[in-house]
Point group: C2
DNA sequence: TTCCCTGCGTTTTGTTTTGGAACTTATGGC
DNA sequence: GCCATAAGTTCCAAAACAAAACGCAGGGAA
């Protein structure tokens, strides 16, 4: 089965994962919950490539998790802010934060 | 930055995602929470290929999320059961289930 | 004892996604 | 004009994935 077919799965967990269950997407949400909203902020903070970041942001907007907002009209610049739908996933990230603190100690030097 | 370098990130969310933040892994945990434990059960239920399933199970065991358990000695057969560490991620999946029910309605016919 | 069945993977062969880095576009300041 | 900034886009090689066939160790029936 292909991942792209998951959005119509009978299981609500699977449908949720069809939006956020890939590499990097939840890291974008983490940054959004920390108040970041700009492309460059996400790019620097998460360490993902601009290529993938652009693609993920596009999909999160399509899915209504983020909203693309014009924040400067000249030059035209957009940023990305959480919708109510996006906010409602915050508790899941909080659990992952606690779990990581408890179960995933840092082994070597952190880089980013 | 490569995904594989995430396990030593300063952020606990990132470290958590280095274990469960890829395609399919959380779907394995979903099945585990539903009481499944056998290779064939995971394979059929999730729809992922056996190739990837084997690789993910191996990593979840290495990370201490699942435990590989001999459940039949002749022929030798193993299954996979949740550790306490694995159990503690269950609330995150519960949130995703609720989120999916609320925000991700099924659009077409489900297949699996 | 030959043959098929079950359960748990591994191998093989293409396709898709990702990583890294350079390039583009529009504007503002000096 | 010339450099800087912000938000992407494009290109190519490398890694991950999908699908299907294969392997292996018994078990049970004929």
């Amino acid at each position: 089965m292909k991942w792209s077919e998951l959005s119509d799965n009978w299981c609500p967990v699977a449908r949720t994962l069809s939006v956020v269950g890939d590499r990097w997407t939840l890291l974008i949400l983490r940054d959004a919950y920390l108040g970041k909203s700009k492309f460059e902020e996400f790019a620097e903070s998460s360490g993902m490539t601009r290529h993938i970041l652009a693609e993920r942001l596009k999909r999160l907007v399509e899915e209504g998790v983020l909203e693309r907002r014009l924040y400067s009209s000249a030059p035209k610049r957009y940023d990305y802010v959480l919708t109510e739908k996006g906010e409602e996933l915050r508790p899941a990230l909080r659990i992952m934060k606690d779990w990581g603190k408890k179960h995933m100690p840092v082994r070597r030097e952190a880089k980013a």
